[in-house]
C-alpha cells in the first residue's frame, strides 16, 4: 500500500485519526523545514479549520467519496488558497492574502484533503535551483549542501524529506520534473490544459501547468485524478478524449548527440534503463527531433515575453508592496518594481520586454513561435511511430548551492530535457531511478502524446523495476510517519 492509501484507509476507518495525522505532518514538516527551509506559511488555526471542514465533508459526502480524505498536501506558494498568504516567494507580495480560491485548491478541498502549508519556491517560479526565493534558498533533503532544483524546490523537498505525502508544484519549463529528479521523487507535468490554471499566479501562461509530487506512481495518479478536468474559469482547459492507438511497443530514445551534455552517472543510468526497457520487449527507436536543440532559445524568448506581461500587474497600485518613498506615479511604478522584484525576475522582465519591442518582435518572438509550432509537429511525428519518448529529466544530478549562481546560462541548461514537453504541451512524468555511480538521485522522464496522461502513468508502472523512490523511513523526517503508520 502506498503512503496515501495507508492514510486514507486509516482515516476512513477512524475519522478522529485525521487530527493526529495533521499533528504528525506538523512534526515531520518541522524537521524538514528546519533543514531545508521549505515552508513559507503554515498556521495552526487554519489547520484546525481544515480538519473541521473535512469532518463536515464526511457528513455531507460520505468518507468513501473523498479520495484524499485527511491527506495533508503542501502547496506551492504561487497557488491561491483563500485565507492563506500567497507570496510567490517575492518581496513584492510579502503579506499578500489570497482573497479567492484557485480551482485546484477547491478540488483538493472537495476531495477531503487538508491544505497543509504554502511552500517555498523560486521567485515567481523563475529558477532551477530554488535559490531565487526572496525568503531564502531551499536545500535538498538528500544532501543539504545541494539545491533541490526549482522552481518547485520546496514541493519536492517536502515529499522527498518525508514531511508530506503529497504536494503541488507548477511546471513551466521543468519546474516540477527537475526538482523531482534532484530529490528522488515522482513529479508529473500534465498535458497543457488538463489542469486548471485559475488561481495559479502566472509565469508564462502558454506553458504553465500545475502538477503533483509524490513518493509513488500510484499516489501521483491519485492526486492527478483529483486535479484534472475542464474548468469554466480557465479558457485553456480542454476535454480531449485521448484514444490510445494500438500499442506499437516502441519507445523513442535520444540519439547520443543529444546526450553529450549529460554527466557520466546520468548517461550510464540512461543506458541501463534502455537495456531494461528493451528486455521488457520494447523496441527502441533513436530520434533526433528537429528543433530540440533550439528549445532553450525558444523557451527563453517565449517564457520571458509572457512573463513580462504577466508581472506588469505588480505595479504597487492595488496590492502587494508600494515603495513608500515614491512621490510621483512614475516613481510608484519604477521604485516599487526595482526594489521588490529579485534580480532573476528583473532579468526575465527585461528580456521579455526586449523580445516584444517594436523592431525586435519579428526577429525574436515570432520566430520563436514558429519554431515552437515546428517542434510540436516533430513530436507528433515521433508519436506516429512510437508510444512514448524516454529521456533523462536533467543532464546532471543536483548541484551545490551557489554553484551556478553567477552563470545563468549554465543554470538554464538544466532545463534542456524538460522544456520540450512544455513547448509541445505534452504530458511528462519524472521518476527516480537507481544511481549506481553516486549517492545522488537521478530522474528519468517519459513523455507521451497530447492527452495520454493516464496512459503514461500506467506505462511507467508496467516497466516498474526501473524506478526506486527510497524508503520513507530513511528520509529526513520519514521515520515520524513510518512509526505512525505502522
Amino acid at each position: 500500500m502506498t503512503f496515501v492509501e495507508k492514510l486514507v484507509q486509516m482515516h476512513v476507518a477512524d475519522h478522529s485519526k485525521i487530527k493526529s495525522s495533521v499533528d504528525v505532518a506538523k512534526r515531520a514538516m518541522a524537521i524538514v523545514h528546519k533543514s531545508c527551509h521549505t515552508t513559507l506559511w503554515q498556521e495552526d488555526a487554519y489547520l484546525d479549520q481544515e480538519i473541521q471542514r473535512v469532518q463536515g465533508l464526511i457528513e455531507s459526502k460520505g468518507a468513501a467519496n473523498l479520495p484524499l480524505l485527511g491527506v495533508p498536501v503542501g502547496i506551492k506558494d504561487n497557488i491561491n488558497v483563500k485565507g492563506t498568504k500567497t507570496t510567490c516567494a517575492s518581496k513584492i507580495l510579502e503579506n499578500y492574502q489570497s482573497p479567492y480560491e484557485a480551482t485546484v485548491s477547491t478540488k483538493l478541498a472537495e476531495a477531503g484533503a487538508i491544505r497543509f502549508c504554502k511552500l517555498n519556491m523560486d521567485e515567481f517560479a523563475m529558477g532551477s535551483s530554488n535559490e531565487n526565493s526572496a525568503y531564502g534558498a531551499v536545500k535538498n533533503p538528500k544532501d543539504l549542501q545541494r539545491v533541490p532544483g526549482g522552481s518547485s524546490g520546496a514541493s519536492a523537498a517536502a515529499v522527498a524529506g518525508g514531511g508530506l505525502p503529497l504536494s503541488l508544484g507548477s511546471d513551466t519549463g521543468g519546474s516540477i520534473r527537475q526538482p523531482a529528479a534532484f530529490t528522488g521523487v515522482y513529479g508529473f507535468k500534465p498535458s497543457y490544459g488538463r489542469v486548471s490554471r485559475y488561481g495559479l499566479v502566472a509565469f508564462a501562461s502558454s506553458l504553465d501547468q500545475i502538477g503533483p509530487f509524490a513518493r509513488s506512481n500510484i499516489d501521483i495518479q491519485k492526486l492527478y485524478g483529483v486535479l484534472e478536468g475542464v474548468d469554466p474559469f480557465d479558457d485553456s482547459t480542454r476535454n480531449i478524449e485521448f484514444k490510445a492507438a494500438a500499442a506499437k511497443n516502441k519507445v523513442a530514445v535520444l540519439s547520443e548527440d543529444l546526450l553529450k551534455d549529460c554527466s557520466p552517472e546520468v548517461f550510464s543510468a540512461y543506458q541501463r534503463c534502455l537495456s531494461s526497457i528493451e528486455s521488457k520487449g520494447f523496441e527502441l527507436v533513436t530520434v533526433n527531433p528537429k528543433g530540440i536543440k533550439e528549445c532553450l532559445s525558444i523557451y527563453y524568448i517565449l517564457a520571458p515575453a509572457e512573463a513580462a506581461a504577466n508581472l506588469a500587474r505588480f505595479d504597487g497600485v492595488r496590492y502587494g508592496q508600494r515603495e513608500p518613498s515614491a512621490k510621483t506615479l512614475e516613481e510608484v511604478f519604477c521604485k516599487t518594481r526595482s526594489k521588490y522584484f529579485g534580480s532573476e525576475v528583473k532579468r526575465r522582465i527585461i528580456t521579455g520586454t526586449y523580445v516584444l519591442s517594436a523592431g525586435y518582435q519579428e526577429a525574436y518572438y515570432r520566430k520563436a513561435n514558429q519554431a515552437r509550432s515546428m517542434l510540436r509537429r516533430e513530436f507528433q511525428k515521433i508519436f506516429l511511430e512510437c508510444d512514448y519518448l524516454f529521456l533523462p529529466t536533467t543532464p546532471s544530478t543536483a548541484f551545490k548551492l551557489g554553484e551556478n549562481a553567477d552563470n545563468p546560462l549554465a543554470m538554464y541548461l538544466n532545463d534542456l530535457f524538460t522544456i520540450p514537453a512544455n513547448l509541445a504541451e505534452l504530458p511528462a512524468l519524472s521518476f527516480p531511478v537507481t544511481n549506481e555511480d553516486g549517492p545522488l538521485p537521478i530522474g528519468m522522464q517519459l513523455v507521451g502524446p497530447y492527452g495520454s496522461d493516464q496512459n503514461i502513468l500506467e506505462f511507467e508502472r508496467s516497466i516498474a523495476g526501473l524506478s526506486s523512490c527510497d524508503d520513507l523511513g530513511t528520509s529526513l523526517a520519514g521515520s515520524v510517519w513510518q512509526e505512525y503508520l505502522s
Binding site: N78, I79, N80, T86, C88, L93, Y96, P99, Y100, A102, R197, Y198, G199, L200, V201, A202, A204, S205, S206, P232, F233, D234, D235, S236, A305, E306, A308, A309, L311, A312, R313, F314, D315, V317, R318, Y319, L329, F333, T353, L356, S357, A358, Q361, Y365
Partner: protein, 511 residues
C-alpha cells in the same frame, strides 16, 4: 466616399482629411471577461471580482453575449465578420489598468470593413471594428488620487473609419450616424455624458489636388457631436495657420478643452508608447461559425434609415414626422404598437394621421416620461411601453387607436380630440367614455344647434347688429361664441350653415 458632384470645401487652399475612431460601450449585462455587472454609477469598486481587479492568478473568460452585440453592429454596417479572430495584450502602465495590459483585438479583429451610409451624399468606409475591455477610472482628489475599477473590464467595440471625411460637419454627422445605429440595434445606451460613446479624431491637411496626405494630429476623447465638430474646426484652422506661416505640423496627440474651444498638446509622437502587442495566451481564438452568425443576424432590428424610408414610402407618413419617429425610439415603438393593434385595427390610411398625433400632442403630453434622453433605459421602453413601470402615466395602445378612429369618423373635432387625449393621459380612461362624459360628440342636429345660435345672437346683440350692418368679421366672432356655448362639440359645417340662415332670417325681419 463622397458623391462626385458634391464639392469638397477647402480652407485657404487646403483640403482636410479626417478619420474617426469611435469607442462604444456595449450594454451587456456583464463585463467582457467576468460575470461582474456592467453598470454605471455604483459605489466605487463594488462591481469587481478577481478577474477585473487583475488579481494574481485570475484568468479572463469571454462573455458570449458581448460577442453577439458586437456582431450585431458588424451586420448593421455590413462588415465582414471573421470566422476566427484573436485577443491580444496591449501593454502599458497606468493606475486604472489593473493588469498592466488591456485585452483587445489587434492583428485579427472580429470585423473587417463595412460602411456607414451617413446620408445620400456621404458614405464612409470602415477599416475595422474590434472588441476590447475598458479601463477603470482615475479620480483626482485634493491631496490624493483614487481608482474606481467598476468600469474596468466592461466591453467596448472600437469602430475605425477610413480617412474619408473632409469637413467637421461630416465628421459630426458620421459620429451621429454611429450613435443612431448603436441605439437602434440596442447594443449601447448612447449615453454620451457618461462616455458610453467616445470619439477620437485624426486630422490632416493637404494642398488641394495633392495626392499624399499631410501630417496628422489626433484629438482624443470627444464625447459630443458639438465638441467633435468644434475640435475638428479648431484643429483644421490651427493646421492652416501653421502651414501658412511656413511651419510644419508636429505629429501629436491633443486634448480638447470644451470651455475654451481649443486643443492642447498631450503627447508628442516621439514619446509614444510601444505597446508590445502579443496574442493573449489565456484566451482561445474567437471562433464565430456560420450558424452562430446567422442566428445573431436574425436578431438585427431595422436600422434608423430603413425605418425612415419605410415610414415615408410604405405608410405615407410625412418626411417631417418620419424624421422624428426615426430618432425617438419610444415614439416609434408606440407607433408600431398602434400599427399592429388588433382591437380596434388601425387602418393603413390613418397611419400618417397617427404619426402626426404621436409627434405633436402625444409627444408633448408625455415628454417627460418618453424623453429619450439621459435617464431613459431604451430597452425597457422598447419592449414594455404600454405599461412601462418607469412611467408614472402611460398610454393604452387601444385607446389611442380608438381616438384616431373617432377623429377620422368626424364624430369629434380635432379640438375635442386634444382634450380627450389630455384626459386619457391623466386618467387612463377610455376615450369613448371621456367623449360621452364631457359631451364632446360633434352636434349635427340642426334643431339644437339653432337653439344655441339663437341664444348666442340674443346675448351678443352688438355683434349681431354689426354683422347686419355689413361687418363680415363679426361672423367669425359669432361662430366662436356659438362654439363656446356648445362646448366645442358643434359640427362646424352645420353651425356655419345654421348661423348664416339665422342671420339672414334676422336681416330679413329687420328690413
Amino acid at each position: 466616399m463622397r458623391h462626385q458632384d458634391t464639392p469638397i470645401k477647402t480652407y485657404s487652399g487646403f483640403v482636410p482629411t479626417i478619420g474617426l475612431e469611435i469607442h462604444c460601450r456595449l450594454n451587456a449585462k456583464s463585463k467582457l471577461f467576468c460575470g461582474c455587472p456592467n453598470s454605471y454609477g455604483d459605489t466605487p469598486n463594488t462591481n469587481v471580482c478577481p478577474v477585473c481587479l487583475g488579481l494574481p492568478g485570475a484568468l479572463p473568460r469571454l462573455n458570449k453575449t458581448v460577442v453577439e452585440k458586437a456582431m450585431l453592429f458588424a451586420f448593421a454596417v455590413d462588415g465582414h465578420v471573421a470566422e476566427k479572430s484573436e485577443f491580444s495584450r496591449k501593454q502599458y502602465f497606468y493606475p486604472d489598468l489593473p493588469k498592466g495590459y488591456q485585452i483587445t483585438q489587434f492583428e485579427y479583429p472580429y470585423c473587417l470593413g463595412g460602411k456607414l451610409l451617413v446620408s445620400n451624399r456621404l458614405c464612409v468606409d470602415l477599416e475595422r471594428v474590434h472588441i476590447e475591455e475598458d479601463a477603470g477610472k482615475n479620480i483626482h482628489l485634493d491631496d490624493a488620487s483614487a481608482v474606481d475599477l467598476n468600469r474596468a473590464g466592461s466591453a467596448l467595440i472600437e469602430i475605425v473609419t477610413k480617412p474619408q471625411i473632409h469637413s467637421p460637419e461630416d465628421a459630426a454627422a458620421t459620429f451621429r450616424f454611429v450613435y443612431d445605429i448603436v441605439r437602434a440595434i440596442g447594443v449601447c445606451d448612447g449615453n454620451l455624458e457618461e462616455g458610453s460613446l467616445r470619439c477620437d479624431l485624426n486630422v490632416s491637411l493637404a494642398k488641394e489636388g495633392a495626392t499624399e496626405l499631410g501630417t496628422r494630429t489626433e484629438v482624443k476623447n470627444l464625447n459630443s457631436f458639438r465638441n467633435l465638430e468644434k475640435a475638428c474646426n479648431y484643429e483644421i484652422m490651427r493646421h492652416v495657420d501653421t502651414l501658412l506661416s511656413g511651419e510644419k505640423i508636429i505629429q501629436q496627440t491633443v486634448g480638447f478643452d470644451a470651455s475654451t474651444g481649443k486643443t492642447f498638446t498631450q503627447r508628442l509622437k516621439e514619446d509614444s508608447d510601444d505597446y508590445r502587442y502579443f496574442p493573449d495566451p489565456d484566451l482561445n481564438e474567437l471562433e464565430i461559425d456560420s450558424a452562430w452568425k446567422e442566428e445573431t443576424r436574425a436578431k438585427l432590428p431595422m436600422l434608423p434609415h430603413e425605418v425612415e424610408r419605410n415610414l415615408i414610402e410604405v405608410d405615407g407618413v410625412s418626411s417631417e414626422y418620419a424624421g422624428i419617429l426615426k430618432d425617438k425610439k419610444s415614439l416609434y415603438s408606440l407607433y408600431i404598437a398602434c400599427r399592429k393593434n388588433t382591437n380596434p385595427v388601425m387602418p393603413q390610411k390613418l397611419l400618417p394621421e397617427l404619426a402626426k398625433w404621436l409627434c405633436t400632442d402625444i409627444q408633448k403630453l408625455s415628454s417627460q416620461e418618453l424623453d429619450d434622453g439621459v435617464e431613459q433605459n431604451q430597452l425597457t421602453l422598447q419592449t414594455d411601453l404600454g405599461s412601462s413601470k418607469k412611467c408614472k402615466n402611460s398610454w393604452n395602445i387601444s385607446h389611442i387607436c380608438e381616438l384616431l378612429l373617432q377623429l377620422n369618423s368626424g364624430k369629434i373635432s380635432a379640438r375635442a380630440g386634444k382634450k380627450v387625449l389630455a384626459r386619457m393621459w391623466d386618467t387612463g380612461q377610455d376615450p369613448s367614455i371621456i367623449i360621452q362624459e364631457e359631451g364632446l360628440l360633434k352636434q349635427t342636429d340642426t334643431g339644437s344647434i339653432l337653439k344655441i345660435v339663437k341664444e348666442t345672437l340674443d346675448a351678443e346683440q352688438q355683434a349681431t347688429l354689426d354683422f347686419l350692418q355689413g361687418n363680415q368679421k363679426s361672423f367669425g366672432f359669432l361662430m366662436g361664441e356659438s362654439m363656446k356655448r356648445g362646448r366645442g362639440s358643434l359640427d362646424p359645417q352645420v353651425l356655419r350653415r345654421v348661423l348664416q340662415e339665422e342671420l339672414d332670417a334676422r336681416n330679413a325681419a329687420s328690413t
